[in-house]
Subunit: 214 residues, 2 copies
């Protein structure tokens, strides 16, 4: 489940891609595009359909992805970028808030990641736990790294409380965004939703900062 | 969407029901049980199937529920109880933590609410935004009231920060639980999951308490 997947928007790929060049290139891109078409059309992703739509042979498909689950997870991640590392020495709070709210408030989701696809991704994850776990391991958990690392650095530098669990903190601050979409059924472009997320993040941050000695 | 639905576990019904009596009684119960069977079997909830399984006529069905969406939302809520009000004067932190962690840590979900049904509920909500909004309005948002009210009381009494938005705080503390199930794909009975939730709630609470004047 920790297999390196091609075409996932993992750092090394993102780094290679210039800003103006098309996202999906070559066979990987054709396969991922075909999978995404099926996902967006709410059709089941099968090898036969991918072969038919992409023109890539079944053998080539399975040389590139160990399973349809891995391919589906990779397709669901197309358009999601690895956030850049947060540089040390700046305003940690602002940098983390920007990283969290920047993408989420620009529109109803990250660029190239429409809200309907987000909903479909959650739907597929709820239907298929192995897909959910693979998407978590190969994609989501990696994208957490820049912020989790920045929190860890903040703890080491004494800006954040020494007893914090950076992973639990990330769950807390990311959870509030998922709550809006998954439970409330809100989009991110509503000002009330944005305001609630910002207020909740303020509370979380307040709970994370080190208490200055009296 | 704010119509009072029968058989939803809303306060007045919960209050009428003795602790030892069966949850679903009469026609309402037969209809809800039939809808739940369909949901658990991952079959579409249709009027024809409900009529067939419950023996309740289509006319009676629509006298009781304004729509299939409302009926589905009510069925998804069976087994979820309205939490009791948090009495004033006690240890607010402990009461809120118990209310949050009590149900979630007793097993893989609230009693009578299996995790697979939770996953199916999220799946249906992601497929159907009107169901999601109805479930939110008629069920989830009501169940938030005891804790949101307790937070509001804590603000008024000066235990919590005066500038808090109780709804945003609830989103923050509830979001961390959804993150475990929806994003990480974890069950609540894992000790690591429980530990992360508890650590995250500690951070949130720390961010909510009023700073004592120096």
């Amino acid at each position: 489940m920790t297999t390196e997947l091609p075409g996932t928007g993992a750092p090394e790929r993102t780094a290679r891609r210039g800003p103006g060049r098309p996202r999906n290139e070559g066979l990987d891109g054709q396969v991922l595009a075909a999978a995404l078409e099926l996902i967006d059309a709410k059709e089941e992703v099968t090898a036969a359909r991918i072969v038919e739509r992409s023109g890539v042979s079944r053998a080539a498909l399975y040389r590139r992805w160990p399973s349809l689950t891995a391919l589906t997870a990779a397709a669901l991640d197309v358009g999601r970028e690895m956030p850049p590392a947060i540089p040390a020495g700046g305003n940690l709070r602002e940098a983390v808030m920007d990283a969290l709210l920047g993408g989420a408030t620009a529109g109803s989701g990250p660029v190239d990641y429409p809200e309907e696809r987000f909903r479909q991704r959650i739907r597929l994850a709820m239907s298929d736990r192995s897909l959910q776990r693979m998407y978590w391991t190969s994609h989501v958990s990696r994208r957490r790294a820049p912020i989790v690392n920045a929190l860890r650095a903040g703890i080491e530098e004494g800006e954040l409380r020494p007893d914090l669990d950076p992973d639990a903190c990330f769950d807390l601050i990311a959870g509030v965004f998922y709550y809006q979409l998954v439970v409330r059924g809100e989009s991110f472009d509503g000002p009330a939703t944005r305001g609630r997320c910002r207020a909740a993040l303020d509370v979380a941050w307040q709970g994370m900062v080190a208490v200055t000695p009296p």
